[in-house]
């Protein structure tokens, strides 16, 4: 398992207060009883850890731990390609 996966699993395990070895890439959010509050919390922790911003429309499509890891890899790659963090800062009102 690569570094991104390991880090995502640690974040999810901490948020759910469960051991990391109960989580694999195939584990679904449903199996982990991840509700909407957990999801928003975990998304924020992942954003902070990888310095990325998950688009609003991507949140709804995350169903498994593997989805999170693939999404993070894509966003990190996109950030590297563009040379800067994608809108990590809040919009100015």
């Amino acid at each position: 398992m690569d570094d991104t996966a390991q880090r995502c699993i640690v974040i999810i395990a901490k948020a759910k207060n469960i051991p990391t070895d109960t989580i694999t890439l195939d584990t679904s959010f449903e199996e982990l009883n991840i509700d909407s509050l957990d999801k928003i919390n975990i998304s924020f922790e992942v954003e902070e850890a990888f310095d990325i911003a998950i688009p609003d429309d991507a949140l709804g499509s995350l169903k498994t731990v593997g989805d999170v890891v693939r999404g993070v890899d894509q966003l990190v790659a996109a950030k590297a390609a563009s040379g800067s963090a994608p809108s990590a800062k809040p919009a100015t009102p």
Binding site: A15, N17, D35, S36, L37, I40, N41
Partner: protein, 406 residues
């Protein structure tokens, strides 16, 4: 009008996170005041203040009680509220005997989720960080009442009241009136607070009212208050419903009075406190002669304790020096908006057990106050009428009157 009795109790406090543990500390005089533990967000955990003690809850692990998503969406004060309310509701078998829409939730909270707010603001000001997406729901002062309603599936009138250090007493008093009038058949009433953040410690330090040693209410050498945290909840219901289902009755609430000093934002005035005590007695249809115990606001500051004693003299005249009085803040500290709930709980247990708690750690009552301060050990009492006083910054006063149930 309905008579209103107490059929469930719950608490998370520095002197016990069950009612039985709280009661044991209350009567043994075991204080929850201890050295300040490492403060999150403060450099090296040191809040950098001129005092070293606070009344903290050390044995509370939210993960033992609450789902992870709710933990993520709540500040510690709300987590205290959820667990204390569950204890009280379970003891009363509240949900089994009352329809969800007939139950009110009235709670006091002065500070909201300020530690969560501070944490996010620290990130914002120091590194332009994003805020956690649950910051708003963690920090709103009504989160306690909302989360208790969600947790227990209660759909009646639900709100948090904010009147600084009188919040919980206002909440219990208003809940009492709602059940007495028949607006609700039962209520969960109390307070919840977990304000011990770095900024909170520092702001109180600057006010110069926190004891550099330890809160010693009404002592000749008192030198200030001790900050605290916690929650306590009472289940109130009509006497009729409690008796119909043969519920255990822990006590009766008989009166509620409130007033405003309309004078000064920090300096209390005796007339305001006296008015609230008189109104509570009038509301109870009781005379001052019936009062056999006062659980004082008793913060341990020079100003509060002198003013409160003066107010007691105004209300009770020559009898003022003969009414047994104590401040349990010497045990559980000053839990700010929750304080009145911890003291209502102490008063209920005192009346039920027939033992009035001592003002722990005080051996030298201030003779100039001319009051009958209970010290050294609990004092036995016959069934009686008690007042529990809460006198807040800003001159907001609330007093409830309770009777021994027999």
């Amino acid at each position: 009008m309905n008579r209103v009795v107490i059929t469930g109790l719950g608490c998370i406090t520095p002197i016990g996170s069950t009612v039985s543990a709280f009661q044991e500390s209350l009567f043994s005089g075991t204080t929850g005041i201890a050295p300040i533990a490492a403060v999150p967000d403060a450099p090296d955990g040191d809040p950098g203040v001129r005092y070293s003690q606070a009344a903290q809850v050390f044995d509370f692990d939210p993960a033992q009680h609450i789902d992870s998503g709710i933990i993520a969406a709540t500040n510690r004060n709300t987590q205290f509220a959820i667990v204390a309310a569950r204890q009280a509701a379970q003891q009363a078998e509240l949900m089994k005997h009352h329809a969800p829409g007939d139950i009110a939730i009235i709670m006091g909270c002065a500070c909201g989720g300020r530690s969560s707010e501070e944490h996010e603001v620290k990130g914002l000001y120091t590194r332009n960080a994003r805020a956690h997406p649950l910051t708003i729901v963690r920090t709103m002062a009504s989160a306690g009442a909302s989360n208790v309603s969600i947790d227990l599936k209660i759909t009646g009138p639900t709100l948090d009241i904010s009147t600084a250090c009188a919040s919980a007493t206002h909440a219990i008093g208003l809940a009492f009136h709602m059940v007495r009038s028949g607006m609700s058949t039962a209520a969960i009433a109390g307070g919840h607070e977990a304000p011990l953040s770095w900024g909170f410690y520092r702001a109180w330090d600057s006010m110069r009212v926190v004891s550099p040693t330890r809160c010693r209410p009404f002592a000749a050498d008192r030198d200030g208050m001790t900050l605290g945290e916690g929650a306590a909840m009472l289940v109130l219901e009509t006497l009729e419903s409690a008796q119909a289902r043969n519920a255990t009755i822990f006590g009766e609430i008989v009166g509620f009075g409130m007033s405003a000093d309309a004078n000064h934002i920090t300096q209390p005035q005796a007339e305001g406190a006296a008015a609230a005590m008189r109104k509570a007695l009038a509301d109870a249809n009781a005379s001052p002669e019936e009062v056999g115990y006062i659980n004082a606001h008793g913060t341990g500051t020079q100003a509060n304790d002198a003013t409160e004693s003066s107010a007691i003299h105004q209300v009770f005249g020559a009898r003022a020096s003969q009414i047994p009085l104590s401040s349990t803040k010497a045990l559980h500290g000053h839990a700010i908006g929750a304080s009145g709930a911890l003291e209502a709980l102490a008063t209920v247990l005192a009346l039920r057990e027939g033992r009035l708690p001592q003002t722990a750690g005080v051996s030298n009552p201030d003779p100039s106050l001319n009051i009958d301060l209970i010290v050294n050990e609990p004092r036995p009492t016959e069934p009686t009428l008690a007042l529990s006083n809460s006198l807040a910054f800003g001159g907001l006063n609330a007093v409830i009157a309770l009777r021994t149930w027999r």
